[in-house]
Symmetry: C2
Subunit: 387 residues, 2 copies
């Protein structure tokens, strides 16, 4: 990967909006003021100040009360993914419901934990509730109870779509009927560009069987490794009972709490427009260079665009051509719950410069054209058709 | 716990030697210089600079080469405890060998993971190899293979003793004979006061089935949540395959790497004498106030003293009296692998002031005397006798 000039592969935040000076001030302050706390263990929930700021973040976005003592700080949202799954785990081979295309890190963790993943088809509204219902009924008939449903319902990774309210409600009803917990991963929360959003599952229904995961990796920086689980008792205790790492990073949490002491809005309002411009530039480049061949998502938030390739693209050839040309992306196969080699790719735009985006997309488009094995016109009319 | 004035309970580092100014400088520098890295994921191994410094720390202490790419940075050594156990886990109920008295955090993690813990008696040389041999033979006869042996061989927690070289060699031989991995937890490493030490297991034998855990919680501060696993391939890959948290805290690691860029010695040589004085003061207080009734360990490093109580102490009464008198400690039951209520208590001295130590011990001694149910003379002549 040493000669990759246009890395659309990894989902990082934007280095240009990383608040160096403010974090320097915050670090200097908390090291002086919280030296004694730094020499203690942070406890299972973690830094009280950051939990308070994150509870306010949630309350402001969702319009409901959030108790800071129901937040568990984690090593990024990925520790939340693993910890919540471990807390709900039964026997190896127990089924869980996941989106057919999902975050590779989560899929890898669930594979490693031995879950039998049941993939639910996606469309422009996210996870299909008809398929959720059918799979829950089928598994119930077989006497196999899913341990949980995992969904990235807002700016779904990789597809970018937001699940509408009515669909969320229906999935909650189905989960309650079959007594299956829901894990909602909202790790792209507040990386929002335009238009209305749907509320989080926990804001729709206060069942303790709804677990919520969030992160600071996307609105601030992944290197801080700060995320959290929001869970109500008795689920809260069940998750804490599975935790054995003596708590999350107090230092990073204290610095971040100081940085965000007046809320997350100021930095988000500075960083999000920068990301929005990159999203727009990526969409523009796709239109100009692949408009006749591909379809893609137009996400209202998050860091990714999901691109449907023509069926006649030799995807192995495309990968090799792109690598040679210095362009990276993540192929569809990475996101499929059964690693099926589907005709998609995901473009991440968060950490690239506008110039890199503008220069990289025509090169990628050229590789797509060169990897085609026919000259036929595009065969599909929607992003999720016949994939 | 709000009126506890003399907290001998928790194993923390010393706030007075926490290097505020140096860490402030380090934080300011790395935030400026590594902003781009901060917006990336740190990878499964973690910050290369901190791994390099920690590999040198190990090499200097043990006199062997340590490859930084065989170090996995973790969220304190407790993530190392859990991750290595998960990597070696088979079925729930599989046996493992642990010291009869061990760190409660580890015991809790192993209980939660469903291991069947087999407790090995301890003496002034740590885990007894005769009992290790007997248990390995017994389990082998039953067709039950232990998943691993876990040992805190240096400044054993809670007993404080260091396992001699010959005993380490014998345990390695036994482990090899029965093909059982060893997990050595050296989390108090380099908190050393006087006299020679024994080498770590990995420095005695380069088998990939020896896993080594270490930490910065004791020599620097637990709030940084930095530890590491040292494991050679193929064990290294086996452990990494079980990791799903997207890597350890890059920010804390970068700051600490900068702070320690010339090695750990300078700060250790400043902090250890301060701790040694507290150990000495604690031993002196015990002699003065409990010399006729109790016996205790005299550790050459680490943060704890293990105190044998007279058998006639009503331990529940002692707990209540101490709490009322504002003195905290951890009772023996916390450390027993089967939670047996053994006649011991552990005193941690790292974070107390000398004045607190001097004032707290006579109060504790008074509680011990008041909790006795007889006036008999001490019935035991060694720390581990008839417990």
């Amino acid at each position: 990967m040493s000669n990759i000039l246009y890395d659309f592969g990894s989902g990082r935040s934007d280095p240009s909006t990383f608040p160096v000076a403010a974090l320097q001030q915050a670090a200097t302050k908390v090291l002086a003021e919280q030296a004694t706390e730094m020499t203690q263990y942070p406890g299972n929930l973690g830094h009280p100040g950051l939990r308070k700021v994150m509870a306010e973040r949630e309350a402001n976005r969702e319009g409901v009360q959030v108790d800071p003592d129901h937040l568990i700080l984690t090593n990024g949202s990925m520790q939340g993914v693993t910890l919540s799954a471990e807390a709900l785990q039964g026997d190896r081979g127990d089924p869980i419901l996941v989106e057919e295309y999902s975050y590779p890190g989560t899929l890898g963790a669930y594979r490693s934990l031995g879950f039998d993943m049941v993939g639910i088809p996606l469309d422009e509204g996210g996870m299909s509730p008809d398929h959720v219902e059918a799979e829950l009924a089928r598994l119930h008939k077989q006497g196999r109870k899913p341990r949980f449903i995992y969904t990235i319902s807002t700016y779904q990774n990789p597809t970018g779509f937001v699940m509408p309210l009515e669909r969320r409600k229906r999935i909650i009803d189905l989960a309650k009927h079959y007594e299956v917990p829901i894990i909602e991963d909202n790790c792209y929360a507040d990386v929002h560009y335009e238009g209305p959003l749907a509320p989080s599952f926990y804001a729709i229904d206060d069942s303790p069987d709804i677990i919520y995961l969030c992160s600071l990796s996307k609105i601030l920086a992944p290197g801080l490794r700060l995320g959290y689980i929001y869970a109500k008792p008795p689920m809260l205790e069940k998750i804490l009972a599975r935790r054995h790492d003596a708590g999350s990073n107090y230092f990073a949490a204290a610095v971040t709490a100081e940085f965000y002491k007046d809320g997350i809005d100021e930095h988000a309002q500075f960083a999000n427009p920068v990301l929005k411009e990159k999203r727009d530039r990526t969409l523009q480049g796709l239109s100009e260079h692949l408009g006749d061949l591909c379809l893609w998502s137009e996400p209202v938030g998050g860091l990714f665009i999901w691109v449907r390739l023509p069926d006649d693209v030799d995807r192995k050839h495309l990968w090799n051509l792109s690598q040679q040309a210095g362009v990276a992306f993540l192929p569809g196969v990475s996101f499929h719950y059964q690693k099926r080699n589907v005709p998609y790719l995901r473009l991440a735009f968060g950490h690239l410069t506008l110039e890199q985006i503008s220069a990289g997309l025509p090169i990628l488009a050229d590789c797509v054209r060169r990897a085609r094995t026919s000259n036929e016109a595009r065969q599909f009319t929607s992003l999720f058709e016949n994939a």
